[in-house]
């Protein structure tokens, strides 16, 4: 009941368009432990929704619900406006919701193009149906350059790429195989400043290409650079839900860092 009260006005920010994915008052409890409660967010095509939160805020539980790994215990999950309950990650993938996890699911010793098509290889149409390696190389090259990554050679082992580039290949793979909504689980967490930049550029490129992006991070600076919409989680509750125009980086950082509690603390410490 309390959750519905501070829920923001529905579908106002997008001018009436149906969101690709929408969560309405979603909650998840494991037995008598409540991991998430009263989460409402929308993911629109061509928009980045940043989900922020400290460790243990419920970010991973939230992704797992959208990715189909877990099912919510309260509230509704809508895909294209239709109420849905995912039974498996494959189910979510079938609806075009792809998740890029932190470990990326790549095989380091294999060439970039083999990784790109791993599990979904293209074969020639005639006997003996061998792999169409040229098509796969060219496609990998084109798909990567479309998103602004220029690899001189797609035959290098993917392990020799930088962390940022690897992340981008994993995202490009999800995009190529039919994703409409990309869920990126802390894509910049393990990266340096420069490499994070590569990933952030890529996120913007994906957004401009019309994908809905869910960007999970605990870095407000990164979120503010690419996000159109922000959701802040704290201890399983939604603390903030606002669009880019409504919030400054300072405010976001402050909210993220603990907000009023931090202010009180700094006052107490007297510095």
């Amino acid at each position: 009941m309390t959750a519905t009260m501070d829920r923001p006005t529905e579908e106002a920010p997008s001018g009436g368009k149906v969101p690709l994915v929408e969560l309405k008052d979603v909650g998840k409890s494991y037995g008598n432990i409540t991991a998430l409660k009263g989460i409402s967010l929308r993911v629109h095509a061509g928009e980045v929704t940043g989900i922020l939160g400290d460790n243990g805020a419920g970010k991973s539980t939230l992704i797992k619900i959208i990715a189909g790994l877990h099912q919510q215990t309260d509230g509704e999950l809508l895909v294209d406006g239709e109420p849905t309950k995912f039974t498996s990650p494959a189910d979510a993938l079938g609806k075009g919701i792809a998740t890029v996890y932190q470990n990326l699911a790549v095989v380091p010793l294999m060439p970039v193009w083999r990784n790109f098509f791993l599990g979904q290889e293209i074969r020639k149409k005639s006997f003996p149906w061998s792999l169409d390696t040229n098509a796969m190389r060219a496609t990998t090259l084109t798909e990567l350059s479309k998103m602004g990554i220029d690899l001189p050679d797609v035959d290098v082992p993917i392990g020799s790429l930088s962390g940022g580039q690897r992340q981008c290949v994993a995202i490009a793979r999800a995009v190529f195989f039919g994703a409409r909504v990309l869920i990126l689980d802390e894509p910049t967490a393990a990266l340096g400043v420069k490499q994070s930049g590569v990933v952030l550029k890529y996120i913007t490129a994906a957004k401009e290409a019309g994908f809905g992006v869910v960007f999970i991070t605990h870095n407000p600076h990164h979120a503010h650079m690419v996000g159109d919409h922000f959701v802040l989680l704290n201890r399983g509750r939604q603390k903030l839900d606002c669009s880019y125009d409504d919030i400054t980086l300072e405010h976001l950082t402050q909210q993220m860092a603990g907000g009023d509690e931090l202010e009180a603390l700094s006052h107490e410490l007297g510095r």
Binding site: K17, V18, P19, L20, H44, A45, G46, D80, Y101, N103, L104, A105, V106, V107, P108, L109, M110, R114, F117, L118, G119, Q120, E121, I122, R123, W129, S130, L131, D132, T133, N134, A135, R137, A138, T139, L141, T142, K146, D153, D155, P157, G159, S160, V175, F176, F177, G178, R180, A209, G210, F211
Partner: protein, 352 residues
Amino acid sequence: MTTQADLEVADHKVVRDERVKERNRLQRLLIRPEMGAGIGAIGIFVFFLIVAEPFRQASSLATVLYASSTIGIMACGVAVLMIGGEFDLSTGVAVTFSSLAASMLSYNLHLNLWAGAGLALILALAVGFLNGFLVMKTKIPSFLITLSTFFMLAGINLAVTKLLAGQVATQSVSDMQGWDSAQKVFASSFTVFGVSIRITVVWWLVFTAVATWVLFKTKIGNWIFAVGGDAESARAVGVPVTKVKIGLFMFVGFCAWFVGMHLLFAFNTVQSGQGIGNEFFYIIAAVIGGCLLTGGYGTAVGAAIGAFIFGMTNQGIVYAGWNPDWFKFFLGAMLLFAVIANNAFRNYAAKR
């Protein structure tokens, strides 16, 4: 409805472009996994040409190739398994197991030798399946599982042979039905320019060629590299890891059966105790050829070159008139050298 239109922005088209072929062919050749072994093989070949006079004859080369082929067929299977990230210590006795099974099943059940060979094939594949199944189900390293299989098979070989034949070798089967045709397939020779060449050399090349094609030009090959390189990632993108690995163990079983059939039809009787220790030769051939013990890296051609190095050293020492007791020392030294050299090549490849 409107959302659908927005999503058409990125088109998911497969591009076919003949211009985007492999680049830097020469450079890529230099960093291939089998390059170190290739250079080593040429070096050893030239070395024996200089020091061993009989080595220069064409018939010697045929002998070397024959010695290489019996190791090479098995090494091909072992290499593919190693690329898939697993290990099989039971291969040496599995070869003997297959030939004993074919011989004794045919002899005691009065079957055509082809029928006996067929039953032996089923048994060999079953052993491979069991190895793979246990490794995948228990998650225990294949080293331990196949070490157990190694001892169990060695025991079965000796005990069952003594039980059925009353001695440690099988009875002669050369007068049984199917001998002539089976011998043609598994153990005949043919003459090229006056030099007699054993048929196993041809089979060796066929095994290597097919394995190479499968590894690099098929879906299955892609999956083999993936399960060896990172099984968890492979599973995450939808590769059937368990099936691929069990299939690899069964392929090793098939190779063991094939070499076993060669032994049976080349020597007529089979000693139940032989084959112990050969598993290391197969592994050495694969590792010299550039296969990584940890999986995900290597080639079948490399294993063939490794087997050829094995054959050359094995016969070359005899041709050079040296004491053959030193053979194992040379083999060990070569393995050490090959591992270090391959490592250096791979680091160079990673840095470039």
